[in-house]
């Protein structure tokens, strides 16, 4: 499933870059993320709680910063997580691009998400909606953090 999100963050690109490539700091802006701890160079372990009514997914897994190019404002993140209680995995590759917009920065995130197991039962519209909510809150939090 390919997802595209764009958000305007009211801060200059250098500051947004510093925050989004600091995985533990950026993760604090993802609603539902519990502890994120380093597990190697550019690698982290973390946990994400996603709630949809009575259904609670706890996605435990690894996040890695796989590529960064500050001059071009591009970074790539890979996440592999599973919910061991319900059974299901989520694999996501996210390409982030930061574009100067005067004093602000446009954050573009292109995600390729593969979902297997029970989590897929929700169907694409619901998953897309949940991802949209996460991304919107993420961008708002980045803006607040940098304000």
């Amino acid at each position: 499933m390919k997802l595209e999100h764009t958000a305007l963050v009211r801060a200059p690109r250098t500051r947004v870059w510093k925050l989004v490539t600091d995985v533990p700091a950026a993760a604090r802006c993802v609603p539902g993320v519990a502890a994120v701890t380093p597990s190697g160079t550019g690698k982290y372990k973390g946990s994400l709680l996603v709630q949809l009514g009575p259904v609670r997914l706890v996605l435990d897994g690894d996040v890695a910063l796989t590529a960064t190019d500050e001059a071009a404002g591009k970074a790539s993140v890979r996440a592999d997580a599973k919910d061991s209680r319900l059974g299901g995995t989520v694999r996501a590759t996210m390409d982030l691009t930061l574009v100067d917009k005067g004093e602000d920065t446009e954050l573009r995130i292109t995600s390729d998400v593969q979902i297997a197991g029970r989590i897929g039962e929700f169907g694409q519209p619901v998953i897309q909606r949940k991802a949209d909510q996460l991304m919107t809150q993420f961008a708002e939090c980045l803006a607040r953090t940098l304000a």
């Binding site: 949809l52 009514g53 009575p54 259904v55 609670r56 209680r85 319900l86 059974g87 029970r118 039962e121 929700f122 169907g123 694409q124 519209p125 619901v126 897309q128 909606r129």
Partner: protein, 283 residues
């Protein structure tokens, strides 16, 4: 994979169990929605609290102020209740149009609302009637208008410590007409591709005195079509006027693509079926 099943006999006992087990508890009445989610493996509660033995949650009462329906009354019982037919025949037809008789014999009103699936039938009709739910917690009771109950897919504004105990439908002003239309292009027992509920009252001079329109399956929650209502209120509706008002439904809905149709198709069908519902009510 098992859970402990509890059958409290009073609301107070059910609330105490809910407080004791917290997030590990799940409330059921007919358990039709729960069984599907459990079999899909999406729910794994340690404790299931069945509400069907609580006598206070059953029964339908007709009052001067309208109709009160207990949370554990089944769809079938509502469909067959004389009081409901007397209150509003369209409400009877709404419940009669849900799924199949086997489902209606088991599924309850409270379960239907608490499950918050956006494609279900009773919510739009209850919104159009101006109904409210009673939410009971250890702190007491509060009421929530049905059009403020739904927050997102499968998500309501009920708090974790609350039980939906009843639905109150207000008395309708004399001359109020109501309808529920369900577009079912696939099978008769399917969820609707779009559904429209509406209530309308014309003043003696032929102007629209009161109108409420709500749609199902047109986004993450059932939705009230306030733009359509605003375009009609105070007007003397003719065919042209109704068509124009129905076209405004586009601003009120946010459908998504699924097996029952693309978002674009659902937008078209929402307009068509809103127009049909309104035409029926003014004819």
């Amino acid at each position: 994979m098992t859970y402990d099943y509890h059958e409290p006999e009073t609301v107070a006992e059910a609330l105490a169990l809910l407080a004791l087990h917290g997030e590990d508890a799940h409330l059921v009445a007919g358990a039709t929605a729960f069984t599907l989610l459990w079999r899909q493996g999406l729910l794994r509660p340690g404790h299931v609290i069945g509400l069907r033995r609580i006598a206070a949650l059953g029964g339908i009462t007709s009052t001067e102020g309208g109709l009160v329906i207990g949370a554990t009354v089944t769809h079938r019982a509502i469909e067959r209740a004389v009081e409901v037919g007397r209150y509003c025949p369209a409400l009877t037809r709404t419940f009669a149009s849900v799924a199949t008789v086997r489902v209606r014999n088991q599924a309850t009103l409270g379960g239907n609302l608490a499950h918050a699936d956006p494609a279900q039938d009773p919510p739009p009709m209850l919104i159009a009637l101006g109904a409210e739910v009673v939410a009971t917690s250890a702190a007491g009771e509060r009421t929530i208008p049905v059009d403020e109950l739904f927050v997102d897919v499968f998500t309501t504004s009920l708090r974790a410590d609350e039980i939906l105990t009843a639905v109150r439908c207000p008395a309708l002003a004399p001359g109020t007409r109501a309808t529920y239309l369900k577009f079912l292009p696939r099978t008769a027992d399917d969820y609707a591709t779009v559904s429209v509920a509406a209530t309308l009252r014309l003043a003696d001079d032929g102007h629209v005195a009161d109108v409420r329109v709500a749609l199902g399956a047109c986004g993450p929650t059932p939705v009230r079509a306030r733009s359509v209502e605003a375009a009609l209120r105070g007007a003397r509706p003719d065919a042209r006027h109704i068509a124009d008002a129905a076209a405004r439904v586009d601003a009120d809905i946010a459908p998504f693509d699924d097996v029952r149709g693309s978002a674009t198709y659902k937008r078209d069908m929402a307009r068509v079926w809103t127009e049909r519902a309104l035409t029926e009510l003014v004819s």
